[in-house]
Amino acid sequence: MASVTHSFMKLFRGPSTVPGQGVRPVSTTQRLTRRSSGLGAVSRTLQSEEPICVLDIGSTSAANIRYLTQRGHKIYSEDLLEASTDPALITKDEQGQTILDSRRFLADNLVYPAAQFDIVLCWNLADYMPESLVKPVVARLWSTIKPGGMLLAFFHTREAGPDAPCYRYHIVDNDILEMQHVEARRDLRRGPTGVLHTSIEKSFRLQRVFNNRHVENLFRDFGSIKFFLTRDNIREVLVVR
């Protein structure tokens, strides 16, 4: 499994950030809509009158905050992709390869009491997060979800291709999402001669493609898993602790 995973990684791996430089995602204004069966399944819990705790992992979304708080729920917002670009996380493994320090990452992020959340909205995090952080993050998420709680995650299929753009998902309705492209940021910098240059920071790049077996393995500590296939090369996965 590890060698198969590694092969996929070699196809799609690209540095999501330039080492030593943090990336602040900048979203464009253009948004697409898509119907989400996974969100529809989660929405049954969101419609409950009982207030619940929801963790939204993604850049701060006013739409999601509004949608959830209007229904009386508490929302915790934490942008893990942005946090993964912290240059202080860069370290080397036993083979001397550059990786991100997952212990340090989890010391600063996802610090919650056990069994806190009824729902975790993971979106496309696993597809774009650096390899060394994915499994530790999922393990931490497992511990923060209440028994019976749910986690919704999106995974690209192989057909999506290595340049599949990174989207931020905004909840519009029970099963409708708006997708906002998280684009590369253009920075204006003054060169040594005083001339202004435009530099393009690299945006988040698809790190890997999970097949069904990989997804099942990733969430093996969860009690149940459900797949929703869609037409836009996204596989929606709903797991229950």
Binding site: A62, I65, T69, Q70, G72, I75, S77
Partner: protein, 143 residues
């Protein structure tokens, strides 16, 4: 709520650094650095674009353009402008956010949030119990 006119708000300027408990019964605009706690029951707080606040905040309305690390309890509303960076929990009746605002923490809406204890009926006063005032500036005490 735009940059308040001088005279409507007590003003902590860009170069001012305050560490300690900050309390008062008038509106406050912070464009400097504050560490500690901020208690402005029934009043408004604006953190300007240069403001760097590391404090728990208890007010009626908070408008954030700069950075706040700490928990916010606003009895009426919280407004986060596109340059706002908030690390901490927010409890309020209403929240308005511009695209680009960053929040890491909990957001909880409490209708008819716990009303702040009424301020004593005295003249507007801003008090600062500070461990150290900004170098080169007069203490921020207004009567």
């Amino acid at each position: 709520m735009d940059m308040p006119k001088t005279g409507e708000f007590a003003h902590i300027g860009k170069s001012v650094v305050i560490k300690g408990e900050l309390s008062g019964s008038e509106d406050l605009y912070i464009d400097g650095t504050v560490e500690g706690t901020i208690q402005l029951h029934g009043n408004n707080l604006v953190i300007g674009p240069n403001g760097q606040v590391r404090a728990d905040v208890n007010t009626k309305v908070v408008v954030i353009q700069g950075k706040l690390e700490g928990n916010i309890r606003a009895s009426e509303r919280v407004e986060l402008r596109k340059s706002a960076v908030v690390v901490g929990d927010i409890v309020t009746q209403r929240i308005a956010m511009e695209d680009g605002a960053y929040v890491k923490g909990k957001i909880e809406i409490q209708r008819e949030a716990a009303k702040p204890s009424p301020a004593p009926a005295t003249k507007p006063e801003l008090q600062v119990e500070a461990k150290s005032a900004a170098a080169g500036s007069t203490p921020v005490t207004k009567q």
